[in-house]
Symmetry: C4
Subunit: 193 residues, 4 copies
């Protein structure tokens, strides 16, 4: 069981990432409805990032389940992914505070793009573990195409934010939704083994 | 052992949630007894939330023990629960700073209500794993009724806070106590297997 | 293996406790030697608390190793211990900022006293798991007497801080040292099984 | 499996260390490119520390894999290492804020030097577990020499920072790079067992 500690470490890092984001929800000084509503953008940014990071965790869960050994390539593609995921709390707070600003939204999209790329590197590292397994190769090709799809959309969200930030928000929501639904299918008994 | 990593991730998230709440206990500038006593409401809010989150962890421990497989429904009802639990540090700080304010207390009750609902969704997801097991169905029915009881009380605490916040505090304390005592019985050897 | 998740959750909470203490080491604005030296008390308070919490973790490690089952008493004596340990970052920051103040030092001693009491409750809960095992009863009696010794010293540190805070500091250091050395013996192969 | 909990605890602490560093990346108030670029030094310091801590985690992973039992020496050389690693977020923030200041850079180098020393103590503790295994003795001698090499460079980085901070930065980068590459070889199947 050589990949156990990678899972444990990744779980720890992702658990901290997903939880410290809530620290950026600054408690309002007074209790007027206005001041409570003023943190609604931060709350929605937190909600979006929670879903995005939770999806990443679920995908990570499925991916590492398929890893055969903890070699250097797996360790470092995984650390690379964790690095980009660790930037999510920062860009979430930045976008939550400036949700109408193209730069803040574009930066959020850019970090999710980097996470997507990091996922595809990790996926390739794990795929190399069973090149001789036709079923796994096929499974990886299918999930890889979904990965490329979301990378392309995140890449598009960066320039589009400068046109209209709401297009980027729609992209973030759409990618989250598209990942959520198929994951249901992937988790069906028998579909990934 | 497919549910192991869900437990590990949930443990990580809950451990961070329960611990970062203490960061909201701001260290007083000076050391007069007055300034130390001024953070007593925050301390009591922390104590309440610690107990509430600890109860949730214990219930989560019992629930996931009964899960058979990590399917998509289990993963996402669990992530939904973790999301609402992650709001507890925020509403704890908010209520600790404004413990006489109906809005702050109602918001605390509302988040606990959402946690209770999330628990019942998770419970239903796990119950679906052994529909063919009469003993487990009976066990789930009993714990579900306790769950509904606390959801109803938390729901009541939201409007009642606008009448008198102390009624809501009594509800929070009573639900915590009521969960604590029966849990003793549930954990008895033989009662949940 | 029913106590596994208690260990995992406790490890998570203690890991967060021991690490967030370093967040209280505020980075000085400028880089003069004076401003760097001004955080020396906070650094020493952090060092002391790191050692104290690390000792608690080691003892917890040994204690839970002897637990037979995760019953309600074990769960809640453990949660009680984690609650008091979670107060350590707060009192460390408070004492680090006010190391000459009797109240701050007494509060630190009081929290360590509560941790010591919580340990003895946890120890009693675990001892009740093997009342029929003469060797374990003897082992628990010996470690219990060490526990009572440190509880008594921590209790003394509270009033003594109002006489002279340095006496309390000596007590904190002495208890840490006294735990550290015997633990060496306890960990010898064959001495606890 | 007596070293399991040490790994779990260390993973928890390192996961928190590596993630809370990102909290020091303060979100800029406004969204001008200037204010975003003003945190570039902090970002680069975070990137460096992330890589350094990730390398430490990988080495720790390999080292503890070779540990035979959780004796007191292993526990406390490990806790010593975690203490020095827990100082990394502090010196990262300090250096990120004052990257042109010799004192800040020297302090960063000094903490990495202490981490390197702590690693060599942990390595010696684990080496003592299999003094009778010629292959392991040889393995430890080789990795120990790499360890001494980096300790010497970190030691040099402290005085050299007062001459020119960029020399120290080059040392930090070079040590990271030198560890990264050979680790590849160490992780090859068959090379460490």
């Amino acid at each position: 069981m050589p990949t156990n500690r990678i899972e444990a470490f990744s779980d720890g890092v992702i658990a901290v990432i997903i939880t410290i984001m809530v620290l950026e929800l600054k408690v309002p000084r007074d209790t007027t409805l206005t001041s409570l509503l003023s943190i609604l953008p931060q709350f929605l940014a937190y909600l979006l990032s929670f879903v995005v990071v939770a999806i990443m965790w679920v995908n990570h869960h499925h991916l590492l389940h398929a890893a055969r050994r903890a070699d250097a390539r797996l360790l470092w593609t995984n650390n690379n992914l964790l690095f980009w995921m660790s930037m999510v709390p920062f860009v979430t707070a930045y976008m939550g505070n400036n949700y109408r600003d193209a730069r803040a939204v574009a930066l959020y999209g850019a970090v999710l793009f980097c996470c997507g790329m990091a996922f595809s590197f990790l996926r390739a590292a794990i795929a190399s573990h069973h090149r001789d397994n036709a079923e796994m190769v096929d499974y990886h090709r299918r999930t890889q195409s979904k990965n490329i799809f979301s990378i392309a959309l995140y890449a598009a969200s960066v320039p589009l934010a400068f046109w209209n930030v709401w297009i980027s928000f729609c992209i973030f929501g759409f990618v989250a939704l598209s990942y959520f639904l198929p994951e249901r299918k992937l988790a069906e008994p028998g579909s990934h083994n």
